[in-house]
């Protein structure tokens, strides 16, 4: 009578154990699931001629879910670096070279999953070092795991400072922290027209955007501007017309938006609907992405956006990319589009690792960590240097503008500008 039942339960038990065993076993090759992407630039013979040495970088990146697009850029950046470095037979460690391997899982834009996967990367896949996911929330969750296992994590896509306020020793961020995002735009606007008086700031209610906005507010007030509007809208808002109306009634000179691509597009669309035309429209994230132009068409003209990095920046480096321009060429050749800054900063995270490994002359996790902490290097992406908390506060933010010719050009800082900052924003009713 109970045979079937017995079988069912045994199957359940065995399935659980088998899963555990299969996942935990080192002998079996890593599962070749659809979520997992292994990139190795080497072949079997090459590896066997030398003493087998490889560095495995692991990351959980959003390939599906709400950050799927950004996650794709991150993955591209990681992969481009790995391809290039393996062309040079890998990273020099002491007197030998180690081929680089990448292990990426899809975290579905979900912090729980992200943490779970990083724990898998550490305890099951035994990766050498960790790379960051996309977004502050997921980064927050994964840095804690890295800290628990004392595995360094250099991340490139979590800008919120609260990630780094917890005294972590193993987490580093190559990107400029959130409060710095909008400084460049404010500087540029005042440089163009010192008579600007008022700023309105709209904020997506999220950890990153709130820090961006607070940083911008402090900086604007420091520069003598009056912040006439400062309010947040719900994350994933589908309608911000109330805020636009409220801003419009204040008639600000500058409108700054702290948020992400999606809500930035929404703010622009509804500003047009409601006829909000300040002299400067600037956003933390969005205008520098090709999607922005795709979504808004001509309405994207004049809008400026902060950028961690742009292809036109004038950095020079001895890393494998050398200059932003060279990085752009390689990226374009491989992916067929201008690299968004997420890709560049992701690649920069690996550059930071490379330089730290070279300095440490070892793949030892603690030695590399110490080398990362001491790193001071000028890369194609800009300065890579971390403060005590692990944040890169030394790199300035650039500004890009959507031009009336349909292009996207760096307009700030002045020394890197390819085009003049178009000013003022042309009112909607005059277009």
């Amino acid at each position: 009578m109970s045979k079937r039942v017995l079988v069912l339960l045994v199957v359940l038990l065995v399935a659980a154990m088998a899963l555990a065993a299969c996942g935990g076993s080192q002998a079996t090759p890593a599962p070749s699931g659809g979520e997992e992407q292994s990139t190795s630039g080497t072949t079997e013979e090459q590896a066997s001629t030398e003493e087998a040495c490889k560095v495995v970088f692991g990351a959980a990146v959003s390939l599906t879910g709400k950050y799927a697009k950004e996650g794709e850029y991150v993955k591209n950046g990681y992969e481009l670096y790995v391809e290039e470095i393996n062309k040079q037979d890998g990273i020099p460690v002491g007197d030998k070279k180690c081929m680089v391997e990448l292990k990426i899982y899809d975290d579905e834009s979900n912090a729980d999953r992200s943490a779970q996967l990083v724990e898998k990367l550490i305890t099951e896949d035994h990766v050498t070092f960790l790379l960051g996911p996309y977004g502050s929330g997921n980064t927050f969750a994964t840095t804690a795991i890295a800290e628990k296992y004392k595995v360094p994590m250099v991340e490139a896509n979590g800008a919120a400072t609260k990630i780094f306020n917890r005294g972590f020793k193993y987490s580093f961020a190559v990107l400029s922290p959130a409060p710095n995002y909008l400084r460049g735009i404010i500087d540029m606007a005042l440089d163009k027209d010192p008579n600007l008086k008022t700023v309105a700031i709209v904020i997506e209610n999220g950890a990153f955007a709130l820090e961006v906005a607070q940083g911008a507010k402090d900086y604007a007030e420091e520069k003598g501007l009056e912040v006439v509007y400062f309010d947040k809208y719900a994350k994933a808002a589908k309608d911000v017309s109330s805020l636009i109306t409220a801003m419009k009634s204040k008639n600000p000179d500058i409108v700054l938006g702290a948020g992400h691509l999606q809500d930035t597009i929404l703010v622009m669309k509804q500003s047009k609907d409601l006829g909000l035309s300040p002299k400067v429209f600037g956003f933390s994230v969005g205008p520098t992405s090709p999607e922005f132009r795709k979504a808004l068409g001509k309405d994207a003209d004049y809008v400026v956006g902060a950028a961690q990095w742009t292809p036109e920046l004038k950095y020079k480096s001895d890393d494998i990319f050398g200059t932003p321009q060279h990085f752009t060429e390689l990226y374009k050749a491989k992916y067929g589009e201008i690299p968004p800054y997420q890709a560049a900063e992701s690649a920069a995270a690996l550059i930071a690792y490379q330089k730290a490994i070279e300095a440490a002359g070892s793949l030892d996790k603690d030695k590399v960590r110490d080398a990362l902490a001491a790193l001071d290097y000028d890369s194609f992406y800009g300065k890579l240097k971390f403060n005590e908390q692990g944040m890169n506060v030394y790199k300035p933010m650039a500004v890009m503008q959507n031009y009336t010719d349909g292009g996207l050009y760096t307009v700030w800082p002045k020394e890197a500008a390819v085009k003049e900052f178009l000013y003022p924003f042309k009112p909607w009713d005059e277009r």
Binding site: K69, D231, A236
Partner: protein, 290 residues
């Protein structure tokens, strides 16, 4: 509050109420007649929006012209979904239909994300964003047109429900299924037709929304919840009730959005809970689609 905010708020609320009414009516007839909460409603709306987007992007078809196309396509889809899936569990307990339609939503959204990617898209005809000013108040043409089209569609539905035999059969089925059977109404077909109508209306609303707002595969969920709130506010089963509910809801949403921008859903939802607590079966009693 400054007067611009106030007057613009009123205009926004009125414009919003039109689209919301269209969303809610489709949801409401499915709930009222089939007695299921169709959690996939928003997903159908999203598909409607994407149909418009693709027709515009690939073939340059004007979004307003794509309205009948997206409605017709989703009408057929809705009919098939009800007839061959939902009908299997139509009389099952609440939890079953709830989870079934929820799963349906998950599948549709995931497929949409898979094929169309998760990023935000916009339908941008040349006239997008154009409008006229009444004093300082802006009235975008597109939203105004969407408002009137919503009203027209709602009116057409009203006429259909009231003056055609089929419409009467649908209403009759919602009121007394056995009596409807005795008059010769074929229930399975009527149910499928009702669901198809609801789906088509959702798609129509999706089309109109896609012209004024950016779209993405997850856009629908918020509209499903709003539709529910509106049905409760306006009472289940009457088109004028849904219209009233939409207006009330639009005003709550717009003005709570002005005062507490990051709390606007919470306020609308708490209003819903309050209404339910005071009147456990919605504000208006049971009326039946006229």
């Amino acid at each position: 509050m400054e007067s611009l905010q106030f007057t613009q708020g009123i205009v926004n609320a009125i414009l919003l109420s039109g689209t919301l009414a269209l969303v809610a009516i489709g949801f409401s007839i499915v709930w009222g007649i089939l007695n299921i909460i169709n959690l996939a409603h928003g997903a159908f709306l999203m598909v409607g929006a994407y149909i418009t987007y693709w027709l515009f992007t690939l073939y340059g078809i004007d979004p307003f012209l794509s309205l009948p196309i997206s409605m017709a396509i989703m009408f057929v889809v809705g009919y098939l979904v009800q007839r061959y899936l939902i009908n299997m569990v139509i009389r099952a307990p609440l939890l079953v239909t709830f989870l079934l339609t929820f799963a349906l939503e998950i599948v549709i959204i995931n497929l949409a994300t898979f094929f169309w990617k998760g990023d935000l898209r916009s339908v941008t005809p040349d006239y997008a964003g154009l409008g006229f000013s009444l004093g300082n108040v802006q009235v975008p043409y597109v939203r105004l047109a969407a408002f009137f089209i919503s009203l027209i569609l709602t009116g057409l539905l009203h006429v259909f429900m009231t003056y055609t035999k089929t419409g009467n059969a649908i209403r009759a089925t919602g009121m007394d299924i056995d009596a409807a059977r005795l008059q010769g109404v074929r229930i399975p077909q009527t149910y499928a037709l009702t669901y198809a109508l609801g789906t088509a209306l959702a798609a129509g609303a999706g089309t109109l929304i896609s012209i004024s707002f950016p779209i993405d595969p997850t856009m629908g969920g918020a509209y499903t919840l709003r539709a529910f709130v509106i049905c409760v506010l306006g009472g289940l089963g009457s088109i004028p009730g849904v219209m009233m509910g939409s207006v009330v809801f639009a005003f709550i949403e717009v003005f709570s959005g002005i005062w507490f921008p990051s709390l606007k859903d919470a306020i609308a939802l708490l209003v819903l809970v309050l209404v339910l607590i005071v009147r456990p079966s919605g504000i208006a009693g049971k009326a039946f689609y006229h």
